[in-house]
Symmetry: D2
Subunit: 357 residues, 4 copies
Amino acid sequence: MNTIGTELRLTLFGTSHGPCVGAVLDGIPPGMAIDLERIQNEVDLRKPAAGIGTPRQEEDRVEVLSGILEGRSTGSPITLMVVNRNVDSSKYEQFKRVPRPGHADLVARSKYAECTDLRGGGQFSGRMTVALVAAGTLAKMLLEERDIRVAAFVRQIGSVRDTGERGLAEALFSRSNPVRAASPELVERMMEEVLKAGKEGDSVGGVVECIADGLPMGLGEPFFDTVEGEMAKMMFAVPGVKGIEFGAGFAAASMRGSQHNDPFVLVDGKVRTAKNDAGGILGGITNGMPVVFRVAIKPTASIARGQRSLDLQSGRETELKIEGRHDPCIAPRAVPVVEAAAALVLADLGMRGGSID
Amino acid sequence: MNTIGTELRLTLFGTSHGPCVGAVLDGIPPGMAIDLERIQNEVDLRKPAAGIGTPRQEEDRVEVLSGILEGRSTGSPITLMVVNRNVDSSKYEQFKRVPRPGHADLVARSKYAECTDLRGGGQFSGRMTVALVAAGTLAKMLLEERDIRVAAFVRQIGSVRDTGERGLAEALFSRSNPVRAASPELVERMMEEVLKAGKEGDSVGGVVECIADGLPMGLGEPFFDTVEGEMAKMMFAVPGVKGIEFGAGFAAASMRGSQHNDPFVLVDGKVRTAKNDAGGILGGITNGMPVVFRVAIKPTASIARGQRSLDLQSGRETELKIEGRHDPCIAPRAVPVVEAAAALVLADLGMRGGSID
Amino acid sequence: MNTIGTELRLTLFGTSHGPCVGAVLDGIPPGMAIDLERIQNEVDLRKPAAGIGTPRQEEDRVEVLSGILEGRSTGSPITLMVVNRNVDSSKYEQFKRVPRPGHADLVARSKYAECTDLRGGGQFSGRMTVALVAAGTLAKMLLEERDIRVAAFVRQIGSVRDTGERGLAEALFSRSNPVRAASPELVERMMEEVLKAGKEGDSVGGVVECIADGLPMGLGEPFFDTVEGEMAKMMFAVPGVKGIEFGAGFAAASMRGSQHNDPFVLVDGKVRTAKNDAGGILGGITNGMPVVFRVAIKPTASIARGQRSLDLQSGRETELKIEGRHDPCIAPRAVPVVEAAAALVLADLGMRGGSID
Amino acid sequence: MNTIGTELRLTLFGTSHGPCVGAVLDGIPPGMAIDLERIQNEVDLRKPAAGIGTPRQEEDRVEVLSGILEGRSTGSPITLMVVNRNVDSSKYEQFKRVPRPGHADLVARSKYAECTDLRGGGQFSGRMTVALVAAGTLAKMLLEERDIRVAAFVRQIGSVRDTGERGLAEALFSRSNPVRAASPELVERMMEEVLKAGKEGDSVGGVVECIADGLPMGLGEPFFDTVEGEMAKMMFAVPGVKGIEFGAGFAAASMRGSQHNDPFVLVDGKVRTAKNDAGGILGGITNGMPVVFRVAIKPTASIARGQRSLDLQSGRETELKIEGRHDPCIAPRAVPVVEAAAALVLADLGMRGGSID
């Protein structure tokens, strides 16, 4: 379904090639100052970067339909909408007959029958994340009022891995370059990796890391509504995400307990841990350290080079060539999406547990 | 909260050192034949294995409190209970003062104040998974009636990685050995890794892989209720899980689209993919291939060797030694838990989408 | 919150005096033929009737933003929007200071503070029901494909009570007259009751009855998700509703069991009841008889004559006069709203129980 | 389903003639003092009164399975259980063949097939309310810590109506007499009405009124999660309830707006209303006045005198005689159930809106 969240509840609407995409966000407390330009900026950050992205040119102008009056939230659901302008649906009809590998064409057709709207990927399109970013920026504002900051960056693109220790500052730095690298020396290498894949008619995957700093101890509602669980559910809605790990994550599998356990220490009179292999979460609840997680982003499914597929009508194997240009790597564009989505989850958990009100 | 699921809804109750743990499972259709011995067997599989596990000896006898009559489900919620017998809570009092690294002691105390029940880990204890396994076995039965099989095995323990291609048969084989290895030649090596960690007063992490075979195309309710998202939320409730990945997972980050995309092919008149890097899921919906995922399990937090912690009363750093013996590796015991939990998610999704009824 | 439903899920957005009101309806199966004119007709039925209603003139043109393609549902959420045109918010500012009796002004101000949007009643306005009617008509279409019909009519206005036995035919007849009476001889009397109240600067309450015919046995998910419970929750969202009863309802309080129990009989080979004091529901589940319920609608809170209220600034009692003209009775306008809302509940329950798919 | 509530979430388990009934209550904050005797007293109040009730003699001993330690809530879900002892299921088998009018036998058999557990009414039995009362008493305690009191009484039994103005004191007085009348002079008349129905092999309906006093302004989460809607959904889960009204309720249908609107006045510096026809709720939100509602309770469906029914096997009409003795009126026994259920709803709403924490 298109609705998520308990006390802060998001409903997405629209489709890739319909008249618009939008979001209804229910639960933002009344009286919050809302900087519309900030929302626009975040949405703009999600646009394809010059040189490395798809040429779909969308103005992506965010319009307010409800819930904001004189620059403040009214307490009613906030509705934001972005009109779709640059739409060319002509080429999508063929994918009903020859489904694109790595795309939802086939399963959508199976689940929703002939009537499914595959134009531009329909509901499965990354375009839905425009609305997610707009709504998530409201959650960010809510968190920032409580000195909680959420920022993400690209940890890996293809064979280029960022192995440095990164914090909020580096994550924020990533906004200044098109590949969202956390460090200047990585920008060119990551850029190259993307361009090379593109030149070869191919695409490449990546890893986005997200840091939430300033969280109080106590967010998360186990047994089932853990911070990790709520965050993961949200992240897997972001198209292309195929994995998520917190703190040391999968590396923990080859660690010893004596290595992985984070010792408790006192810092400025507050209980902290000496390191953060737990990713800021113990027993499904925030422990006061930064929440740190990484999501694996698969290589863009749409590639120029020929791929094996099936002609569902004739039942014969065929080669499919997807025309047009596509982002050779969506990891950089996923950065503001992951940030926004993470903010929504944390704000909701904060409101549920009463830790943020 | 302790409730999860939409059409098949699980509520856990009890605590580690209270009188019992149990589960209420709402939504099992009426008339399903229920083999209680099978439930008992699955619960028994979760027990610590001879030689490598904790000596907590629990009979773990599953009792039916409602919903089953004359060997069949009645359509009313099914309540299963397991009495706790082998309980010694004396040693847990100290952890309120000196929280154990890697455990929820501190956050529980912060969130639930003085009154929290830390005995045996309380609600955060792996003991809650006894009830999860019992309830999940009902979901397994429901899936098996539709020829869907779910099986898990240990993919990695510490430095020992299983790099073979594994399917349902190998996963089922893992039931025959205490480390739940998918292949005979790995048993000894994984066993050694566990024992070595234990002998050194330490613990070690692992990876559990789960395969669900026989699923129809069409399970999953995007945008938000994707197969990956629902599965991930459930898995992060399993104590110790710190990451999850589907199909190629994090390896996708360094792959090209031409590698990662699974070509569509016709097998026995059915549309399948030539390989399964998508882990059986496209656009958040099952594509008819086996659903394959892996979860990272952190090393057991309770270790014998001394650890740095804080005396919260004095505010001084202190060394904490946790007495008693603990599983040096919980990955093998997590296998039936992951299986049961996965079955619950898939059955729920099947009932929601109308694909399984 | 602004979202309701489990398998058929409705989210409302917008406000009375914002740019629009709208609805996102998630769960309509793909391939359903959608007659947009029909939706428009239902929305038009909700407009104030000539002679007895408020002069707010809204075109109420329903626009489709997603989920419908070439006259059929795509399986994605359906988004419908109605632009607000005839808006004059100038007079609402004063109600922050002097709250209108019977309105939400005071509680909204208390709950949402200064920032609440009281213009036109904001989120509390009957205007939200435009979107409810539009979305509910989709549910009606879904039910009608399964030969289930939902129709409502006005059972009482002020002192004029319709004491006849009414069925689907009479309910449908009510569409032909402005007071939504089920019988021609009541039209004039009810009309008079409304006009008299209006002339006296006052308003009058009423009762709307709703009938759902053709339902299969088995809708409803007790213990908690009963047909009555789900229906009631939805109905109390309709502004002005203060009571609901099923079948004999409150009259059952003075009945004997031998009177109230509906005997089972065989009609055309189907088990039915000889009468329907249960309102088609036993144990919270439909029994195959028509579901029949009534809602009590309070007199319109906005009246012309002076009322006692408080000046919240000075703390002094004051007389409030509400300018402009308002519907002296909203019961007739509630008829299509009740119908639409009932259809949403029944379709959702049908999809949950697997009885309607 | 058997789960209800958002921040305070109740799951019922068990069946009438199974080993037990019970409740899991998730969300009670840690550290609340819990008087187990008080819970037992409330459960005992629900028992059939001497002289007018069924002779099913249940000890109804409430046992704590989790969530309470040393007299205080731990923050984990609280599990309460009551063992069923006085069970005789022999006579229920016949109702699968000849369904009892007014009971769920037929619909249960249709929905849950042959396997349904009809013994003692199974899941549809009033016995489930033992667990509801036990859990609801915890909600009452939570409310009482905030000086909110919930009390109910019998407003009507058959032809005997209590027409007096009643408040919390009278509601509490009702605990002292078996018919739960709010005034001494009604006790005998109501008693007689019950006994007369019983003597004639019949039963009689009633109305229970509930008052919640001391509520802050601001509970309720419109558009859909109104106080009325949440309360109504809960109340219709109580077996036998067929209607609910708030404040003036159905009487509002024949009122004028000038009568029904409650004028705002200042009392002790607080904004109150001069009367309470709104039942303490405006726009779906509490307004600081007592929340007042009434539920219609149908006459007990099980009666001694012969009734028309169908033999489903032969397809012939038959006369059904239900043996044993049953409560001729369940309204008095519903009083503690309505109180408990109301407390659960109000506490949940209080925790959602952040008004009660």
